[in-house]
């Protein structure tokens, strides 16, 4: 039996159309909801029944794709992972993610984020090439545990919206890029450390972090970017003092 949507809640949604609006403004919608409805479903109801021009990103509806990040009551959240019933009686403010330029309504420009992820060489660089005939790269459970947490990142950017240092200095590498860096750097099969350290050893790299920790608080996948940053502060610091002793592979 389906539950009847006999309760309503007010959604105050930030609207912005770059063609017609000089600046963003809020628009209120009264949305009927059932106890299993997410904020994303509320937005979909608005789009389907009131205003088809309402623009937002989504895909999986199950906290996997990372598309639907937005500020819900001023907190970075996944809209598909936030239930309307938990926000009752409302009103609920829905705005695009902090610290990113708005493209339209709830959609932000992700270019900067993508560039940052690319800058940390987010793939495995095998220590030494191994032909298939030699079999797979084996890994113990402990070796896997060293990076597993960081591999859960879904690139939702909530941590960037939460990070005051990224808000302050858009050049700062930011939390998820560091978590992703550590996902590969911490992998026993990987040999790309030197490359990655060089990408983040500057003022706008790991040292742009002042250990606020908001990233780890808001992450919907329980990734701990602050831990990744700390690990790399240590790695970078060791590299700073030991770089003269090390034979660097400059390939």
């Amino acid at each position: 039996m389906t539950e009847r949507a006999d309760k309503t809640i007010e959604l105050r949604v930030l609207r912005y159309n770059p063609v017609t609006d000089e600046k963003p403004h809020h628009q209120s919608f009264t949305v009927p909801y059932t106890s299993d409805m997410s904020v994303l479903q509320g937005l979909q109801w608005i789009k389907d029944t009131i205003d088809g021009s309402l623009t937002y990103r989504w895909s999986c509806r199950m906290a996997i794709c990372g598309s639907c990040g937005m500020m819900i009551n001023a907190e970075p959240k996944l809209a598909c992972h936030t239930l309307l019933r938990d926000l009752a009686p409302g009103p609920v403010t829905v705005e695009p993610l902090n610290h990113f330029p708005i493209e339209r309504d709830l959609v932000v420009t992700v270019d900067d984020f993508v560039k940052k992820i690319e800058s940390v060489t987010p793939w495995l660089i095998p220590k030494h090439p191994k032909p298939v005939s030699e079999g797979p790269y084996n890994q113990t459970p402990a070796q896997m545990a060293a990076y597993e947490n960081f591999s859960a990142c879904i690139n939702c950017m909530l941590c960037y919206a939460a990070c005051p240092q990224y808000g302050e200095n858009p050049k700062f590498i930011g939390p998820a890029a560091m978590a992703i860096l550590q996902r590969y750097d911490g992998d026993s099969r990987d040999g790309g450390s030197a490359l990655r350290i060089d990408a983040v050893h500057g003022e706008d790299g790991v040292w742009g972090c002042t250990a606020v920790g908001a990233c780890s608080d808001v992450c919907p996948k329980a990734v701990d970017p602050m831990h990744a940053v700390n690990q790399n502060k240590m790695n970078t610091a060791l590299d700073y003092f030991l770089r003269f002793l090390k034979k660097r592979d400059t390939k």
């Binding site: 990408a199 050893h201 003092f241």
Partner: protein, 123 residues
């Protein structure tokens, strides 16, 4: 290569001093305050002359005692300096050079002065 390497920051020096001071203060800070500030002066659990002038002098005249005093005083300062530096930076107070002088500068002066005084006390 996907990017040009960024200029290396010299933050590791200050961060390691900060870390060392933080570890030291977490391990010994409270204990030291308790012993030197309350227990010893009140004579609770410790002899009343444990921190007498003669004992304190003997402690500072031993090279190990000197090292301990130097580490505790200077590293505590480096720890506080880093925290204050970042706070001032976040609050946009002073120029970067001003902030560095006010925080790291003070810690550096205290480090050198403490070493000087400890040496002046002699062995």
């Amino acid at each position: 290569m996907p990017h040009a390497p960024e200029k290396r920051s010299n933050a590791p020096i200050f961060w390691l001093l900060f870390g060392a001071g933080g570890t030291l203060s977490a391990l010994f800070g409270v204990g030291l305050i308790l012993v030197t500030g309350f227990l010893a002066p009140q004579g609770i659990g410790i002899g009343p002359d444990a921190l007498s002038y003669e004992n304190a002098l003997a402690f500072t005249q031993n090279w190990l005692g000197k090292a301990a005093i130097w580490a505790v005083i200077s590293l505590f300062f480096w720890h506080a300096a880093e925290r204050l530096y970042l706070t001032l930076k976040d609050m946009h107070v002073f120029s970067d050079l001003g902030r560095r002088l006010l925080t790291y500068g003070v810690a550096a002066v205290v480090t050198v002065a403490t070493a000087g005084l400890l040496l002046a006390i002699g062995f």
